[in-house]
Amino acid sequence: MMDATLPPALAEIVDEFSQCERQEKIALLVDYANQLLPPPPEALADGDAPESVPECMTPVSLRVLQQDGRLRFYFDVPQDAPLIRGYAAMMQQGLWDVTPQEILRIPADFYHVMGLQDLLTPQRLNGLTAILAHVKRVAVRLMGEG
C-alpha cells in the first residue's frame, strides 16, 4: 500500500482529505492555511533562493530546523495566497520531526487520493508538487552534510 511509505502524520492528513466532500476540502484547506507556524529565530534558511514561477506561482521560501537527525520545516508564504499557505501547513504538520530518509520515500503523487484535482487545476496542484520537491532537495543536502 502506498500509505505505508508516508510519515504517519502526513498519511493522516491525506486520509482526512480523501474522506471529505469538495466543499469540505476547501474548508479544510482554509483551516490548514490558518495554522501555518512562523519560523522560530533559530531556524536556518535552507540556502536556496526562494522558488517561484513568474506570474503564475507564489514565491515560497523555506527554513529548516534540524535536531537529532529530525527536521521541522517553516515556510514563508504571502498572506494573500491561502492555497499555498494551506499546502505549506499540511507539509509542515505532515513532516513534523521526520528524518530526511522518510522524506525521500514520499512518492511524488502522494496527494492523488486526497481528491484535490476536483477543485484545483493541474497548475494549482503544481504548487504542492513544488513544495515537496523543494523539501526533498533540502533533505538530500542535509543527508550529505550529516
Binding site: 476547501i26 482554509v30 492555511a33 514561477v53 513568474p54 491561502p82 492555497l83 523543494h134
Partner: protein, 281 residues
C-alpha cells in the same frame, strides 16, 4: 479628453462599491486566482465564481454551456438587468476572465472594480466570511457572442493576414526560454515560443503596480500603439490559458474602445501543443 476611458461605465471605484453594498440591482462577484481567498474573507454580499470549478465545462476543454451559465446566474441571484461588478486578486486578472465570459453570453451590465481586492483591503474596508444567499432568478442568456472569442482558426487567419496578435505573457515565455520551471511538472505546452508575428506586451503593464488600478487612457494608448496595436485593426490577444489576455481584452475594448478585439482562450496551451502550427522564437 485623452485621459478618459472610452467606456468609463465599465469601471467602478471602491468608493462606488462601498456605496452600493446593499443595492439589490448590483451583484458583486469575487473571482480569484487563489481558490481559497474568498473563504478567508470577501466584500460583504459578494458571491464567489471560481474560474475552474464554476466556469469550466465539466468534461471538455471549454467553458460552461449556455444553460449551465443560466443556472449559474439564477443560483447567484443575477437577473438579466442586474449590474454585475467583478473584482479579484492579482490585478483583477481572473475578474476580467469572468467578466469576459459574462460578455460572451451577452450580459449587458458588467463592471470591474478598479484596483481589485488588493485596493479594497489596502483601504481598510470590511471583509466578511459570511456567504450570502440570494433569491433565484429566471435568468435567460443570449447565444455566445463570437465577436469576443477567437478560436485557433481565427488565429491562423489573423497570422496569415499579418493582423495584430498580442502575446501578453512574460518576456521569457514569449521568447520560449521558459515553458515550465525546473522541478515543476510540465505546464501544458510541448513547445516554447510565440505565434509568428505576435508582439509581446505583458498584461500587467496596463496596471499601476502600487495601486493595482488601470493606468490612464493616454498611457495605455501609447503602450499599445507603439507596437502597432491600433483601434483601426482587428486584434487578438492571448497568453497561456486566456486569463491574463482577458485583462488585455478588457483594456483594449472598454478602456480604449477598440471595436474589434478577441481573446484567444486556447492560448499557448493549445498553440504550443498543436501539431504543425508555426512558432517563432
Amino acid at each position: 479628453m485623452s485621459n478618459e476611458y472610452a467606456h468609463p461605465e465599465a469601471l467602478v471605484e471602491t468608493d462606488w462599491v462601498a456605496e452600493h453594498l446593499n443595492d439589490p440591482t448590483v451583484r458583486l462577484v469575487e473571482s480569484n486566482e487563489d481558490p481559497l481567498l474568498y473563504e478567508t474573507g470577501h466584500i460583504p454580499g459578494a458571491v464567489k465564481v471560481d474560474w475552474f470549478t464554476t466556469l469550466q465545462h465539466p468534461l471538455r476543454r471549454d467553458f460552461i454551456e449556455k444553460d449551465q451559465f443560466e443556472d449559474l446566474c439564477r443560483r447567484l441571484g443575477i437577473g438579466n438587468d442586474t449590474t454585475v461588478v467583478f473584482y479579484g486578486d492579482k490585478n483583477n486578472w481572473f475578474a476580467c476572465y469572468a467578466f469576459w465570459l459574462f460578455a460572451y453570453y451577452g450580459h449587458q451590465h458588467l463592471k470591474i472594480m478598479n484596483g481589485g481586492r488588493a485596493k479594497w483591503v489596502a483601504e481598510g474596508r470590511p471583509l466578511t466570511q459570511e456567504v450570502p444567499n440570494y433569491p433565484p432568478t429566471d435568468y435567460v442568456a443570449k447565444d455566445p457572442d463570437p465577436s469576443v472569442r477567437a478560436f485557433r482558426e481565427d488565429v491562423f487567419r489573423q497570422m496569415e493576414k499579418g493582423l495584430p496578435l498580442v502575446d501578453v505573457r512574460s518576456p521569457q515565455e514569449y521568447s520560449g526560454e521558459l515553458i515550465h520551471m525546473p522541478n515543476y511538472p510540465q505546464e501544458g505546452a510541448q513547445r516554447g515560443g510565440h505565434i509568428p508575428g505576435a508582439v509581446n506586451i505583458p498584461w500587467a503593464q496596463a496596471v499601476n503596480p502600487e495601486t493595482s488600478t488601470f493606468k490612464p487612457a493616454a498611457e495605455l494608448r501609447q503602450l499599445y500603439e507603439q507596437y502597432g496595436i491600433t483601434p483601426d485593426k482587428e486584434v487578438i490577444a492571448y497568453c497561456r490559458i486566456g486569463e491574463r489576455s482577458s485583462l488585455t481584452w478588457f483594456v483594449l475594448r472598454y478602456l480604449l474602445g477598440y471595436p474589434n478585439v478577441k481573446n484567444y482562450d486556447g492560448s499557448w496551451t493549445e498553440w504550443g501543443n498543436l501539431v504543425n502550427a508555426p512558432i517563432e522564437k
